[in-house]
Amino acid sequence: MRNSIAIAVPLRLRPNISNTLPHHKFRPTCFHSHEGHTISCVPYSAPQTKPMALHFEILGRFNRARAAQLTLPHFVCQTPLFMPVGTQGTIKGLTNNELERIGCQIILGNTYHLALRPTSELLEEAGGLHNFMNWPRAMLTDSGGFQMVSLLHLADITEEGVTFQSPVDGKPMLLTPEESIQIQNRIGADIIMALDDVVKTTITGPRIEEAMYRTLRWIDRCIAAHKRPHDQNLFGIVQGGLDPELRDICVKGLVDRNLPGYAIGGLAGGEDKDSFWRVVAQCTAALPEDKPRYVMGVGYPLDIVVCSALGADMYDCVYPTRTARFGTALIPEGVLKLKHRAMADDTRPIDPTCPCMVCKNYTRAYIHCLVTKDAMGSQLLSYHNLYYMMRLSRNLHTSIVEGRFPKFVCDFLQTMFPKGDVPEWVCNAMEVAGIDISSCCAPFPSCQEKYSSDEIGTNDIHMELRLTHTRSVVVY
C-alpha cells in the first residue's frame, strides 16, 4: 500500500549477520594439545558467542580516528556519523523523504517521551517505531533515564531504578533496568541503550563512584532482560564522571560483558572542555577496536571533529535542530544568527559552499524575515543545519578513508578560526590524537614563519587564546 517514497523494511537482519562475523570471533569450546590429545573442554563463557545484530568493519584509519561501515538490521551506515534527535517520533518539521534526501542514516528516539505518548504498547502493536513512523533506515533509542532525571523535579535514583512522579497523573512510578529494556524491545530500534545511573560531571564526591558501580550492576540486569539480542543491539554506557580510575573500572566491566557497542556517557553536561576531551580520549583508548563507540549528547561540530580524531564513531545532539528554531544556522565559520538585523538585506545564501536545497534557493534576507515568526523558517533552517551535520559526517568518513584526514581537520580549523585562535583544549586533544595542526594555530596568519614547539613554547601562544568551543559569527 505505502510504496511511493519511503519503503518500510521488515525487521530482519540485512545482510545475514551470523554468516559474516569474522572467524576470530568464535572460539572453540574444546582445544587440543599439539600431540592431538584432547586436553579439556573448557566451556568459554557465553559472551564469546553472544548474538550480535550489527557488523562493524573499519575501512580506514588515521592514528586513532577510524572510518567504518556499521551494518545494522535496518540500514548500512558509514561512521563517523551524527544522529538527529527525533524525540517524539519525528525530527521536528522534516518529513522522512527530506531526511533521506539529506543523507540521514540513523535517528534517535527518546524512550521516555515515546513511552508516554503514544506508549510502547501501541508502538509494539504497530510493528515497532519504524513501522509507526515509516522510517526505513536505522534507529536508536535511549534508555529513558536521562530524560527522567533532567526533566522531572522529583526523580530519584535507587538501586531498584529511577523513581519519579508520572507527569500524566502524579502517581509514583519506577523505571527499572528491566522495564527500560522491555519498553525498548517494544519500540524495536536497531540499537538500544542500557539504563545507567547518570550523574552530572559538575558534581563531585562519592556519588560518582556509586553511580559508576550501579551502572555496572544494572548492565547485567539489562542484558538479562533483553529479549531481542538478534535484532536489537544493547550498548553499555561508560560512566565515572571525570575520574580516570572510575572510568577505567567501568570500561573494563562493560568490556567483560562483550556488548555489541559502547557509549561514553555522562559528558556534554557543562564540564570544561579540557576535562571533556580527556575522558573521551581515555575511553576510546580503552574500548575495543572492533566495536562502535558512541559519545552521547555531542554536539557541536568542533567537538565532533575532535572526538572523531580521538577514535569515536557516533554522536547525537539536539543542538542543530534546536538552534535552528532560534534562528541560528551552522556554517563552516561557526554560526550565523539569522535573526540579526544585519541579515535583513544580506542577499547571499546562508553558506555559499553548501549544496543543500536551502542554500541553493534562499537568501539570508528571506530566511531572516521568516525565522522565529513562521513555521517555514524553522523548517528551512533545520533542513540546512541537519544537512550541515550530515555533510560533516560524510566528510569525516571520506577524508579518513581517502587518507587525507589531517588536511581535513586543518581546513576545518582554519575556516572556523581564521585568526589562528584555536582553543587550547583542541590543540591538546589533537596532540594526543597525533594530528599536526600547527599550521592552523599561528596567531597571525599573514606571518610567514612557521612556529615549531621547539622555537617558541607552543603553550605560550596557546595561553593567549580563548578557551571557547564555538564562535558566534555574523558574517558581513
Binding site: R2, Q88, G89, G93, A365
Partner: protein, 397 residues
C-alpha cells in the same frame, strides 16, 4: 499571461479555460485554486514537497505583498530579483493580492481617500497606491490585483459608494504608475449593493486590464445574497478575460462562484482545516454524490475527519485509501494523531499536503463536469447530498 475560454456552458456561467502564466511548466486549466501562502511559501509544505502535489494545478500561488512589510525591504526584494527568485519558485505562477483573508484583513474604518487599511501582524497599515506599486514593481508577480477599498456588508450606502469611488481612482493610479506591468487585474467592489456592483464593474471594464479581481466577498454578506451580486458583475465583464476572487473558500462557495463564472479562487479553507487537525475526506465522485464514508466515526462527518479524536489512535490506515498524496502514501491516521497529541509541526505539514491535494482534485473533478456539460447536476448532487448528511449529523448528535 494568456487566458482563453475553452468551453462555456449556456445553462450557467461556468466555463473551463486555460491560463498560461510565466514559466509554469504547462498551461493551467481553470477553474483553478491558488494556494495560500505566508511570505510567499505555503504555511507548512516545504518547497521540497511542493512538487509532490498535482502539477501544474499546484503551480499557482497567491501572495500578499503586505507579508513582507514585517522584515524585508522592497529594495532587498528587488536586489534578489523579485518573488520568483526569492522564493525559489521559478516555475510557479504568482498572483499578488494584498488581502489574504487570514492575517491581512481589510479594515474599512481606517481607510482614507489616500489609501486602503489592513490589519496585519505588524499592526494597522495604511497602504497608498504609490507604496503598493513600489512593492509590486520590486516583487514582479505574474498577476496582481489593483488596490481596493473593501468594505463589509453592513456599512452605510454612502460608505459603500465611497469605496467604489476610491477603488476606481486607485485603479487608475495603479495603471498610470505602472503601465508596463505584469498582468493587472482590476479590482471590483460594491458590497451588497447591486447598483454599486454594476457601476464598479462597468467602470473597470472600460480600463485596459488583463483580468478582474472581484473583492468585497467573505466580509459579512449572506451566502444567498451572493449569486445576484455575482451575476450583476459577470453580466458586464467581457468573457475572454479571467476572473479572480477572494473570500470564497468552502466547497459550496467555490461551486457558487464557478456557476457565476469565476475562474480563479483563493481559499483559506485548507489552512483552517489544517490548524484544526482536520483532513478532507469528501467524495470526489464525478456525479457529485457524497456517500457516507466514515460517518460512524466520532469526531468526523463524511466530508472531513478530525485526527485529534482518540478514535484514530490505533488506526493504521491512511486518511483516504485511494489518495495519491505524500501523506496518504506514507503515513497513517494513527501517526498523525500522535503528532497532533505531542504538538509536532509535522502534523500540520502532512495535513496541509493532503488537504491541498484533495482540494486540487476537487477542482479537477469540477472541470471534468463542466467539460461533460454535467456541471449543474454535479453541483446539485453535491450540495444536496452534503446538506442531507449535515442534517443527519445534526439530528443524531
Amino acid at each position: 499571461m494568456k487566458f482563453a475560454v475553452k468551453k462555456a456552458l449556456s445553462s450557467s456561467g461556468a466555463r473551463v479555460g486555460v491560463l498560461e502564466v510565466g514559466s509554469c511548466p504547462a498551461p493551467i486549466e481553470t477553474p483553478a485554486l491558488l494556494l495560500a501562502t505566508r511570505k510567499g511559501l505555503p504555511h507548512f509544505i516545504s518547497p521540497e514537497l511542493l512538487p509532490s502535489l498535482p502539477s501544474p494545478d499546484s503551480n499557482l500561488l497567491q501572495v500578499s505583498p503586505l507579508h513582507f512589510l514585517e522584515g524585508l525591504s522592497t529594495t532587498t526584494i528587488s536586489k534578489i530579483g523579485g518573488l520568483h527568485q526569492m522564493l525559489g519558485l521559478k516555475q510557479h505562477g504568482i498572483a499578488a493580492v494584498p488581502r489574504d483573508s487570514i492575517q491581512c484583513l481589510p479594515e474599512s474604518k481606517a481607510a482614507t481617500r489616500l489609501g486602503a487599511s489592513f490589519e496585519t501582524p505588524c499592526g494597522r497599515l495604511l497602504i497608498k497606491p504609490k507604496d503598493y506599486i513600489e512593492m509590486i514593481s520590486c516583487m514582479k508577480p505574474n498577476i496582481w490585483a489593483s488596490l481596493a477599498d473593501e468594505v463589509p456588508a453592513w456599512v452605510s450606502e454612502k460608505r459603500n459608494k465611497t469605496s467604489v469611488d476610491r477603488t476606481l481612482r486607485w485603479l487608475d493610479d495603479c495603471i498610470s504608475l505602472y503601465p508596463a506591468a505584469g498582468s493587472i487585474f482590476g479590482a471590483i467592489v460594491g458590497g451588497t449593493s447591486l447598483e454599486e456592483r454594476k457601476r464598479c464593474a462597468e467602470e473597470v471594464a472600460k480600463r485596459n486590464v488583463s483580468g478582474y479581481w472581484i473583492g468585497g466577498f467573505g466580509l459579512g454578506e449572506g451566502i444567498d445574497e451572493r449569486p445576484a451580486l455575482l451575476r450583476e458583475v459577470m453580466d458586464i465583464l467581457p468573457d475572454e478575460k479571467p476572473r479572480l476572487t477572494c473570500g470564497l473558500g468552502l466547497p459550496e462557495e467555490i461551486l457558487q462562484g464557478i456557476a457565476a463564472g469565476i475562474d480563479l479562487f483563493d481559499s483559506t479553507y485548507i489552512y483552517s482545516l489544517t490548524l484544526g487537525g482536520f483532513a478532507l475526506t469528501f467524495s470526489l465522485d464525478k456525479s457529485g454524490e457524497q456517500h457516507n464514508l466514515q460517518s460512524d466515526q466520532i469526531g468526523s462527518d463524511s466530508t472531513k475527519i478530525n485526527l485529534r479524536a482518540t478514535a484514530y489512535r490505533k488506526d493504521m490506515s491512511p486518511i483516504l485509501e485511494n489518495c495519491t498524496c505524500y501523506t496518504c502514501q506514507n503515513h497513517t491516521k494513527a501517526y498523525i494523531n500522535h503528532l497532533l497529541n505531542v504538538h509536532e509541526m509535522l502534523a500540520q505539514t502532512l495535513l496541509e499536503i493532503h488537504n491541498t491535494h484533495h482540494y486540487l482534485r476537487f477542482f479537477h473533478v469540477i472541470r471534468g463536469a463542466i467539460q461533460d456539460g454535467s456541471f449543474e447536476e454535479f453541483r446539485q448532487a453535491f450540495l444536496e447530498s452534503r446538506r442531507e448528511h449535515f442534517k443527519g449529523e445534526a439530528i443524531s448528535t
